[in-house]
């Protein structure tokens, strides 16, 4: 429980930290319509739970007040997402992907490991490692907050979604939404449903011939894209993790060197301490390279894994509609042949047709939108990535240069 206590101690920090970064984050969201602005103004980590303070500013008449805040938990975000996904009216839209569950297990595990290895390292080393872990924890925390916020801002920006009733409740209702996590039966059902869905999807993909080349092409692209980007994301994660490990190993190097300096005495101590100090600074830079790569590269990729997945879902829904429509056509033909229930069949066929056309049109728009959004996001993040990489590399080169100069003067 040692590590829990430590994490709890961190809450205060997190509290203020998120406030500090908040403005920076909302800046990046390009709001062309300011009628509904949502952000997460604060977040609090409490044991297993994270409480997000969702802050809303609006000019929409539906809302009672122009500005208000509520406290929401991750489960409520998921609930909101599920409501959108269920809603048939939104079948033609890419539903913004739900934020991933806050996951601090990795950090906790590492912290525990560190606690176990406490005896084997010096105090200084231990403290640095601990600090490093705390920073890592903080970064994960901030990322979680950011992803929850992105989910809300996308809804708020969307011309249709932002008028959704459930969304309004989510933003406005001051009490707990009393969303319980799914019970076992529901979970099994959900599993069954998703299994059904994926078999259906596969079946449709195999059997259903699309009348529209555009969608046929998009479908192919998204499938391929999804696999590719998923792989890239995993690789990017591995890369940033390795980078982090490199940065962390500088800690041991640095403390090891300065201890050596103490043993070596005056002949080498000053010299070595300079080097150790440089490694300590270089570690921080390397660490930042790692976290920035994670933020700008991996997270962008990760987001588009999920967004791509949402787009795929949209295509599935359309294909389902298409299948339904064709089925309705067949039914109509049969009904006409039998001359029985023709009207009902006609109605059903018309319905299906309308639905299909609607979804097709919407989906086209959404897919174009998806592409535009993706390209813009990649552009922005890749530029930022390059800038940060440059900044860090230059900082480190300068650091090393200064150190070498100082050593030469010795």
């Amino acid at each position: 429980m040692l590590e829990i206590a430590r994490l709890d101690g961190m809450e205060e920090v997190l509290h203020s930290e998120t406030n500090g970064t908040k403005s920076g984050r909302s800046d990046t969201v390009d709001l062309n319509d300011n009628s509904l602005q949502v952000d997460i103004s604060d977040a609090l980590s409490e044991r297993e739970k994270v409480k997000f303070t969702v802050h809303t500013k609006t000019t929409l008449a539906d809302y009672a007040k122009p500005e208000f805040s509520v406290v929401r938990q991750h489960e409520e975000f998921i609930w909101l997402h599920d409501r959108f996904e269920e809603n048939e009216d939104y079948a033609g839209y890419i539903i913004p992907p739900p934020p991933p569950r806050p996951d601090f297990d990795a950090s906790r595990e590492k912290l525990q490991k560190l606690g176990e290895g406490e005896g084997s390292m010096t105090k200084e080393e231990f403290n640095k490692m601990k600090q490093e872990l705390e920073a890592e924890y903080l970064a994960t925390f901030k990322k979680t907050v950011a992803m929850h916020e992105v989910f809300l801002t996308r809804l708020a920006q969307h011309s249709v979604f932002r008028t959704d009733h459930n969304f309004k409740v989510f933003l406005e209702y001051e009490q707990d939404l009393s969303v319980r996590t799914k019970n076992k039966k529901e979970k099994v059902e959900g599993l069954f449903k998703s299994f059904n869905k994926s078999t259906d999807e596969l079946l449709l993909a195999a059997t259903q011939k699309d009348v529209d080349d555009y969608f046929e092409k998009e479908k192919g692209f998204l499938l391929e894209y999804h696999t590719a980007i998923k792989d890239t994301t995993t690789k990017a994660d591995k890369m940033t993790q390795a980078h982090k490990s490199v940065a962390d190993s500088y800690i041991k190097l640095s403390t090891g060197l300065s201890q050596l300096g103490t043993i070596e005495g005056p002949r080498l101590e000053k010299f070595i301490n300079k080097v150790a100090d440089t490694f300590e600074k270089a570690r921080k830079v390397e660490g930042r390279v790692s976290s920035d790569e994670d933020l700008k590269l991996s997270d962008t990729l990760r987001y588009y894994v999920r967004d791509g997945s949402a787009a795929k879902d949209l295509l599935y829904r359309r294909l389902r509609c298409l299948a339904n429509y064709e089925q309705a056509n067949k039914n109509l033909d049969r009904a006409r042949a039998k001359n029985k229930d023709v009207h009902a069949a006609e109605l059903a066929q018309q319905n299906a047709c309308e639905k299909f056309e609607l979804i097709t049109n919407k989906a086209k728009e959404e897919l174009v939108d998806f592409k535009g959004r993706r390209v813009a996001a990649f552009r922005k993040n890749l530029i930022e990535l390059a800038e940060l990489e440059l900044k860090h590399a230059k900082a480190q080169a300068q650091l090393l240069k200064n150190c070498l100069q100082a050593l030469q003067e010795e």
């Binding site: 590719a228 490199v246 390059a386």
Partner: protein, 692 residues
């Protein structure tokens, strides 16, 4: 070892054991008298050039001007060196104890300061003249180098300026004689060295360079002193008179520039004795006495001096020779040097891995007992080697490539470390190793599985047990502190090495994961339908591919610049510990001798009490014997202690420098990496901006 030394009384031991002391003493005393100054410049050389082997033969070599005698003299030395008598080269001098015995010389020591009448120049002249007579004496009696003599010689030097060659006091004259004999011995030595050089070189074509150097190196070595001692005692006055007229040669012979022209008397000898030697030696001008400017020869300066000399050894072109399990790796060993006792400035030979180990073994055998830190050779790795042996050379996987490169690099570092040591690089075995352009006799003892290997293992176990069980009460604070420092250094370096290994592993991982990201990004870019984004992603893939290469190179730098050097030092510290242990062993011998002496004395006392005169007589003899042994082992202990101090001081200096170099080199590599990364992202930037 200790046992082998025991039989010969005092002198033999001394001659080999005191070499280092002499050096030390000379360093310190050098400042004071001109004579010693003259000698000092050679100091380092002597250490280098004159391995132990030289010391022993010298007595045999009668430094008489006659060619024949010289040739005789030469041969033994040759034998010695070619045989490469390991540690005992010096000891071989055993047979030649001087009749006078060590005591005589020691007694002289105190008297010297009083006499003080010797002048440098006159001494030199004495040398010249002594050439005839004393030399013969030396030759006949065949005194070996007992270092005590050196002490006397020095004391003479220090004694005083008012030089009066015709001093009445007997001790004074004797000293002069000592000096003179020293000089003659020098001459003898030079001759010897002349002989030596060819043997070193292996083939007939010797260049003058070698000659000179050897000559320079030799001069005032231990043997010299012995003979001196001998002369001092045995042939007192005669020479004095002769000395005066002669030109003072030794100075010239000592001076580096004049090194070539050996003293005139020697010169004529050389051509006849060793025809292969260049005649250049002969035109020896009776150089004017050039009293060297009194140069303070502090350790730093010595270092600086040796700094002018460089030897750079490259190990390259690893090559698999043969097939299957009997195959082996051969390396090209290229040496570049300006040290003059090497035949050329730049040459190369081919050596196999076991040769390197063999060299190390020989050096350890020869030099460890005298307290020298022998740089450890790379470890044998049965797995790595077998892999290479079995793998066909054409399809050598990267793993064994890495292994070979790692080994090559560590062999190179090993060679340079050994070469950087002034004594070790002058060792005949080392010189043969880097110079002899032929296959070395197969070193059979290096194989881990050979009987020698097993024996070694047993020995090592014994040593470890000894190390663990025997705790010496340290009376020397310096050693107490050093031992502790070395221990903590060892622990810390191990820790640091672990951290470095971690860094290397992580950086390698980073390189690998970056490469796989690059591949994956390339695929993503080919999938991406938006052309500009696709292009940018493609660029991203290329950029990361390039950073992969940078990380990879950096990982190598982590490994070769940091990790391996640190590992070397862990092993070197092991060598330092060995040396310390060697001292403990000598201490044990001394302690043992002391307790034996106490026992014998007790026995004697008992016998006396019992009134058994016959036994008293015998006990008296034994007591005397053990007294000598105690004295000798104590001297041995003092000698090794001093030698170790010097060695460790050198080790400290070199280590600090190595560490500084290592860190600077590493930081530079890091900086280069960062600069490359800057370039990578600078080229990427416009591509990212071009996404529209």
């Amino acid at each position: 070892m200790a046992d082998s030394r025991e039989p010969p009384p005092l002198f033999n031991d001394d001659d080999d054991s005191h070499k280092d002391d002499d050096n030390d003493d000379l360093f310190t005393s050098a400042v004071q008298s001109p004579v010693s100054e003259l000698t000092t410049p050679e100091e380092p050389r002597r250490q280098e050039g004159l391995g132990d082997p030289l010391t022993s033969p010298s007595p045999a070599a009668s430094p008489t001007p006659d060619p024949p005698s010289d040739s005789h003299a030469g041969n033994p030395t040759d034998l010695f060196e070619s045989v490469g008598e390991p540690p005992v080269g010096g000891l071989s001098s055993v047979s030649l104890e001087s009749p006078t015995g060590g005591e005589g010389t020691q007694q002289e020591l105190p008297s010297d300061p009083d006499t003080t009448l010797v002048d440098a120049p006159c001494v030199e002249s004495a040398n010249m003249s002594s050439f005839d007579a004393p030399v013969e004496d030396a030759g006949t009696t065949g005194v070996t180098g007992s270092d005590d003599v050196v002490g006397t010689a020095e004391s003479v030097d220090q004694s005083s300026p008012p030089a009066n060659s015709t001093s009445d006091s007997v001790p004074a004259t004797s000293e002069v004689l000592i000096e003179s004999s020293v000089a003659t011995q020098e001459l003898a030595d030079t001759d010897l060295s002349l002989h030596d050089s060819p043997t070193f070189l292996g083939d007939g074509d010797t260049t003058e360079i070698c000659l000179d150097d050897n000559a320079k190196e030799v001069s005032l070595d231990d043997e010299v002193d012995d003979s001196a001692l001998f002369n001092a005692t045995s042939a007192p006055k005669l020479q004095l008179s002769q000395d005066v007229p002669e030109p003072p040669v030794p100075a010239s012979s000592i001076l580096p520039p004049m090194g070539a022209p050996l003293t005139p008397p020697v010169a004529p000898i050389t051509p006849t004795v060793t025809p292969n030697l260049t005649p250049n030696v002969t035109p020896a001008a009776p150089a004017p006495v050039t009293p060297l400017p009194a140069v303070r020869q502090s350790p730093e300066e010595l270092e600086a001096e040796s700094g002018d000399e460089f030897i750079e050894i490259q190990v390259s072109d690893p090559q698999k020779i043969g097939e299957g399990m009997s195959s082996y790796m051969a390396y090209k060993v290229t040496t570049k040097t300006n040290i003059t006792y090497f035949r050329k400035k730049n040459w190369s030979v081919t050596r196999r891995f076991s040769d390197f180990l063999g060299l190390h073994g020989k050096l350890v055998e020869k030099h460890l007992h005298s307290g020298r830190i022998i740089p450890p050779a790379p470890e044998k790795s049965a797995i790595g080697t077998t892999k290479i042996k079995l793998g066909s050379d054409k399809t050598a996987e990267s793993g064994s490539q890495d292994f070979i490169e790692k080994r090559r690099a560590s062999l190179e570092r090993y060679m340079n470390r050994t070469g950087a040591h002034p004594t070790l690089r002058a060792d005949p075995d080392f010189r043969e190793f880097i110079e002899l352009d032929a296959e070395l006799p197969r070193a059979t003892q290096t194989s881990a599985l050979s009987s020698a290997g097993v024996l070694r293992l047993f020995n090592r176990v014994g040593e470890t047990v000894n190390k663990m069980t025997f705790k010496m009460d340290e009376s020397d604070q310096w050693f107490e502190e050093k031992t502790q420092q070395i221990e903590s250094l060892d622990a810390q370096l191990r820790k640091l090495h672990l951290a470095m290994e971690g860094l290397v592993a992580y950086r390698r991982e980073l390189a690998v994961s970056t490469a796989s990201f690059a591949k994956s990004a390339a695929i993503l870019s080919s999938v991406e339908e938006h052309s500009a984004l696709s292009r940018a992603l493609h660029q991203l893939a290329e950029s990361t591919e390039r950073t992969h290469t940078i990380h990879h190179a950096q990982a190598d730098a982590d490994f070769y610049y940091l990790s391996e050097i640190t590992k070397d030092y862990i092993q070197l510290i092991g060598a330092v510990k060995d040396v310390f242990h060697e001292r403990v062993k000598t201490f044990q011998t001394w302690q043992h001798a002391q307790s034996m002496l106490a026992k014998k004395r007790e026995a004697k006392a008992k016998a006396e009490l019992a009134g058994r005169m016959d036994k008293v007589q015998q006990a008296q003899e034994e007591v005397a014997e053990w007294e000598v042994k105690v004295e000798r082992s104590q001297e041995e202990f003092d000698r090794i202690s001093r030698a170790i101090k010097k060695e460790v001081d050198r080790f400290d200096v070199v280590r600090v420098k190595d560490f500084k170099d290592m860190l600077v080199k590493y930081l530079e590599a890091l900086m280069t990496s960062q600069q490359q990364i800057i370039k990578v992202w600078e080229t990427f930037m416009p591509e990212a901006k071009a996404i529209a």
